[in-house]
């Protein structure tokens, strides 16, 4: 927690991030409450999550999340402007180092690296239409919606000429691992009023708060935004072991050793008996 708070602080200092600053003020978001500070928009998002917490048990092998909602209107629907909905799901942020190999004396060696102070461990974007058609660049930059923008400030001095291939490599590797996803058409809109998005969370989830954001757009401009969070926590045996390993490391280490010695002895004893 400490580390995360510190990282967010670094992120805030390093570059001006109005969107992030705004998020900070309103966290934790209450479900059902739109979080924009602007005057009431003509169209508002009313949304819900199929669940607001996920317990990681021993047999955890991924999870399904359904994010659904409706667009509430006081006035009739504006004509001629294209309606779009984007839903994002973002896992806890953490530092990542991206290294690049090059050939030195005939062998491949890590020669260059770029540090990203905070990249989400998981990031999925579901859209109702292709992202380029429904989102203008300014809104994207402000709200940090598209995948490359999900990464926060660089950590440490940048020692390479061009950091872009490094961040692209990070996105590519995480996409391959199923951790970063862009699902065009993943949001289904019914009658320009109801919408839903399904997310399949992978089995290799990291613990933390998963931030869900819903953006309502018309002609690329933001109309309303909604934010909520899903708590992903280890439970039961997983929780107990994790806590023990971090808070009582010596005891945990001895327990692991005892278990190993016992298993080794038991196997020898059993095999002797069997013979």
């Amino acid at each position: 927690m400490m580390i995360r708070a510190a990282l967010l602080a670094i992120g805030l200092c390093a570059v001006a991030l109005p969107a992030l600053a705004q998020d900070q003020q309103v966290l934790p978001a209450r479900p059902g409450m739109p979080i924009t500070n602007r005057p009431e928009p003509d169209e508002q998002i009313v949304a819900g999550l199929s669940r607001d917490n996920i317990g990681i048990t021993t047999s955890f092998d991924g999870s399904q999340i359904l994010i659904y909602g409706a667009i509430k209107r006081e006035k009739p629907e504006p004509e001629g402007q294209k309606l779009a909905v984007i839903v994002t799901l973002e896992g806890p942020l953490g530092p990542v180092t991206i290294r690049k190999k090059s050939r030195e004396f005939g062998i491949w060696v890590n020669t260059a690296s770029v540090g990203v102070a905070a990249a989400p461990s998981y990031y999925a974007v579901a859209t109702s239409s292709p992202l380029g058609d429904i989102l203008d660049r300014r809104t994207d930059t402000q709200q940090r919606i598209s995948i490359p923008l999900a990464m926060r400030a660089f950590s440490g001095p940048i020692t390479v000429d061009d950091s872009i291939p490094f961040t692209e490599a990070l996105v590519d590797i995480r996409k391959e691992q199923g951790l970063y996803k862009l699902e065009t058409g993943g949001v289904h809109i019914v009658d320009n009023t109801l919408f839903r998005a399904d997310f399949a969370l992978p089995a290799n989830l990291t613990e933390g708060d998963y931030k869900t954001r819903i953006f309502l757009l018309r002609d690329g401009k933001l109309v309303d935004k909604y934010q909520s969070a899903i708590e992903v926590r280890k439970v039961g045996l997983e929780r107990w072991l994790y806590t023990l390993a971090h808070e009582n490391a010596a005891l945990y280490g001895l327990l692991s050793l005892a278990l190993a010695v016992f298993a080794g002895w038991a196997a020898a004893a059993i095999f002797r008996f069997v013979r």
Binding site: L205, Y242, A260, G264
Partner: protein, 314 residues
């Protein structure tokens, strides 16, 4: 790592590694490594660690948990060897003292290399150079012995060669090994193995076994038991160090590897008793050469992705 529609059968979520893995993959992995461990008297760390990387376990967790698995398989192996009176305990203790000293200084070197950002390369180079050299030496020796036996007669190499080694002080009688030598050479072997073991994240049996045979002239029948004895304590020390300093020992992962491993180790040591020492040596040599060759190729061939990512600080 897997596509979302994979068969979700007997998956288990590992609390420290924070990944979900199939139970049978882990049991099988443990079993194979245990079998080799019982057969050759190596801890199996040099196989388990790269294999765990391969199935997607974070490297730091793989190294620490591998050490814990080595503890279990060596307990099992040592007990089997003790029954056959094939452990030279005084020799094991001397090697152990050296091993702990070496391991402590090895951890210092490890941290230094990590700061320089070249630990991966150092580890890979260590693997290639040491595994390759030892593998080739053992293979050559094994083949030569078999050729001599085929020719008949079997001219035995004279066991005791008087060199400067025998003029060193602190001589001690190692009864089980039938040796009367100074404690300094085994102590140094222990230190060297300890340093390498800490840097490479392994028990070090694959270095110690040949060192005992070729440098200390120990009889092959006590080498395996004695090296397992030393590995047991060094890897227990390593596990504890990792658990306390980095919290990277995953007990759930270890348990599954252990269950597979102890069974494999028992089968391996039974099998080993039936094979001839020369055959064992050639088999181990081939295995070691394969691992070294694979790692060597990785260094030389164009990687499929020039970029790699590492999470966490540094």
């Amino acid at each position: 790592m897997q596509p979302p529609q994979r068969v979700q059968f007997m998956q288990i979520y590992l609390p420290i590694a924070e990944v979900s893995v199939n139970i049978f993959t882990l049991l099988g992995l443990g079993g194979i490594v245990g079998l080799l461990s019982g057969l050759f008297g190596v801890g199996g760390g040099f196989l388990i660690t790269p294999l765990l990387f391969f199935i997607g376990i974070p490297p730091s967790v793989a190294v620490a948990t591998g050490a814990n698995q080595v503890v279990a398989s060596s307990v099992s192996g040592v007990l089997a060897q003790l029954k056959r009176k094939a452990v030279d305990i005084p020799m094991g203790l001397v090697l152990l003292v050296g091993g702990l000293l070496g391991s402590a200084s090895g951890i210092y070197v490890f941290n230094l290399l990590t700061e320089l950002g070249q630990i991966d390369l150092a580890v890979q180079l260590c693997y290639v150079v040491f595994l390759g050299l030892i593998g080739l030496l053992m293979l050559q020796e094994g083949i030569r012995t078999i050729q001599k036996q085929r020719k008949g007669g079997g001219v035995r190499k004279k066991r005791v060669q008087h060199t400067w080694v025998h003029k060193l002080p602190f001589k001690f009688k190692f009864r089980a090994s039938g040796l009367y030598i100074s404690v300094i050479p085994p102590l140094l072997v222990g230190v060297a193995v300890g340093i390498l073991a800490a840097i490479m994240g392994v028990g070090g049996g694959f270095i110690m076994v040949p060192a005992m045979i070729y440098l200390l002239n120990m009889p092959t029948k006590v080498v395996i038991g004695t090296s397992l004895f030393q590995i047991l304590f060094v890897s227990a020390f390593t596990t504890l160090m990792h658990a306390i300093t980095n919290q990277t020992v995953d007990v759930m992962l270890a348990l599954l590897l252990i269950v597979g491993g102890v069974i494999g180790a028992q089968i391996g040591s039974r099998l080993g008793a039936r094979l001839k020492a020369e055959q064992l040596r050639i088999l181990l040599a081939l295995l070691v050469i394969i691992v070294a060759g694979k790692l060597g190729l990785d260094l030389v061939l164009h990687p499929s992705n020039l970029y790699s990512i590492a999470t966490g600080g540094e």
